[in-house]
Amino acid sequence: MNWLITENKKRVNISEIPVLNFPNLREEIIKINKRVIGFFGKQEEENVRLFVVMADDIEGKLYISSSVFAKEEKEYESITQEIPAFHVFEREFYEEFGIEPKNHPWLKPMRNHKNDYKFFEMEGDEVHQVAVGPIHAGVIEPGHFRFMCHGEKIYDLEIQLGWQHRGVEELMISSPSNQLAESICGDSVIAYNLAYSNAMEALGDCEISNKAQLIRLIALEMERSAIHIGDLGAIAGDIAYLMGASIFGATRTLVINTMLEISGSRFGRGLITTGGVNFDIDKQLSEKIVSVLNKVATDVERTIKTMLKSPTVSSRLEKTGVVSEEQAKSLGLVGMAAKASGINLDSRFDFPDKWYQDVENRTIKAEGDVYSRTRLRYKEIKQSFHIIKKLLSKLETYNDEPMNVYVSSSKPDSFVISITEGWRGEVVHIALTDSQGNLSRYKIKDPSFNNWFALAMAVRNNGISDFPLCNKSFNLSYCGNDL
């Protein structure tokens, strides 16, 4: 057995995970031809154990394997050469453990800043560089963008991140809490806290109430729709379609204020706790939610239709910032970025959750441009509203169930993969425990980790003035990437 095959949110014993020698593991990874979602090290005394998790999105299965690097083994043949999607995983592993992937195409720092790092440079009389960040013009998180331009045209963009690094994975081991999980990536409070809570519950072999599961997913879909509406506004703002920016901004407020009525926080902080939820949704609140969503749905539909009909809008969005399906596949894009390029990846449906089973998941016509990413948001807003109403109607059946159940302490020597589909895409948390049942490694992968490179590809051969628009259309996370 070269792989341990498991499922989302299922606890396995670490001892069951195969250990291969690295060349074998490398061959296996290439052979099974699945999608990488985890590639990370764990210090085991003098050795480093490398864990690999591959996803089979069609069967809904997860494949785990591992390899051990002894103290003196400091290099291996990079997998990126064969599967480009590994590029960022290998960079991260190298930075954390100093084990070098040989023949990696561009082994630059991930989060640790070295002043001597030399950006990719183009030469030529007419070539100029534009450096942006870490502090940007707007109220946003920091990151550095280095453009190689010819006149107005972008030839190459190199993105350097890591400014937000707060050592989250270490903190998850020394002082794990729902509050910390909520603060890893504050625009995905629900998705992150859900991924964390699911992992902790799986480690304690605990099943939470149907009621709590429903309330959590209602919140997850509200988060998704609220951010998507806000993003439609941001895209409108970037092309100076100010009415769109204003209306979507105000419409988003209605959704997040409803979230406040549920949980006391506009972003749903404090709602989810390990073992269930802290707030109930009663019949009255449920009716209120439905009526707000109906109003929001009308406003969004009317505004987006008016907006997209305008030729000044479509001329800015169409064929801008294109990522082809082929590029998306080879780079291993996930979530919205993948879907907008025609790859139907969505862990809500790929790793079946009973509550999503009867939801229809139609795909949109996707061209990989800003227009597709805009349309996709509109589609997902409608879909989320549909799901929320469906879940709300089921809630009444479980009226008598508790909001919370007791979660027993984590089982020792365990390994859990917890995937949640946040609004950007899959949020992957992988939790390992030691022989005492304490967390010994906590690995987090934000969808942005895969997708930042897509932005770099998207802007090639576009005008530099379209960069903000392209950037907004992806709206990737800095802190989710930097951790």
């Binding site: 109220v139 937000q164 509050q179 504050g186 009525e261 404090g270």
Partner: protein, 244 residues
């Protein structure tokens, strides 16, 4: 075009008319009201609670509500004017109401009103902020809150700014850029700490990847608690500050 106009008319006016007296939904967790008791301080993830007398440090508090669920002597009111010019005043002791707190929270500085009273341009620096505070600061300028009507705006360049607003626990990697930004801002200038992370490190306070030396080196003018800071908390904090 006609569609566009119709849509505009249908949307009507959305701004909150009276920001200092705006109604807040009752569920909002704002100013904590405390009756003295002994509480297990371990329930707080950020160490915001102390005993004898029971107190909550709003500079550390994430307003998660966990303590109030465990202990009936702590309640969170929906009072949202949480800011102070004095770090120590953020520590809330028993039997104080939000209104009483707000009355004493701002130190009067005549020069602030004189220089910034009519216009205050701010440069925001996210230094490890999770994008929660950042999203709320952006919301301050949307059509509902419309902070610009008071002459308060976020600007792109520190050279155009009268002060900086820091969010996040100040990651090591951002420490240098933050200081650069501060130095690029012309005097007289103010520094505002926005959110539990900026004020105390919040849930990240024990991280080894922070560098908070900036806060020792330069004077801090205003502390605005929250996780994230609600737009009404932010705008009122600034209004109270420039009119105190």
């Amino acid at each position: 075009m006609l569609e566009t106009l119709k849509l505009r008319i249908y949307q009507g006016q959305q701004f909150i008319k009276d920001i200092p007296n705006a109604q807040m939904r009752e569920q909002f967790r704002g100013f904590p009201t405390i009756v003295d008791a002994q509480v297990d301080v371990g329930i707080c993830p950020t160490g915001a609670i102390s005993n004898n007398p029971l107190s909550i440090d709003m500079g550390k508090c994430t307003f998660c509500g966990a303590c109030a669920r465990k202990c009936s002597s702590i309640k969170f009111s929906n009072y949202y004017k949480l800011a102070s010019t004095d770090r120590n005043k953020l520590i809330i002791t028993p039997n104080m109401t939000g209104e009483e707190y707000n009355k004493v929270a701002f130190e009067v500085r005549k020069e602030i009103k004189k220089v910034f009273g009519k216009s205050l341009k701010l440069r925001q620096v996210s230094a490890g902020g999770c994008n929660g505070c950042e999203m709320e600061l952006n919301a301050c300028s949307n059509v509902n809150f419309d902070m610009g009507r008071f002459g308060i705006d976020f600007v792109a360049s520190p050279r155009h700014a009268d002060g900086i607003v820091i969010t996040g626990p100040i990651s090591e990697n951002m420490a240098h850029a933050l200081e650069d930004c501060y130095k690029s801002t012309p005097a007289p200038k103010i520094v505002v700490l926005c959110g539990a992370c900026a004020i105390s490190g919040g849930v990240f306070q024990n991280s080894t990847k922070l560098n908070r030396a900036f806060l020792e080196k330069y004077p801090i003018d205003l502390y605005i608690p929250g996780c994230p800071v609600h737009p009404l908390t932010f705008i009122n904090a600034i209004l109270d500050f420039i009119s105190a």
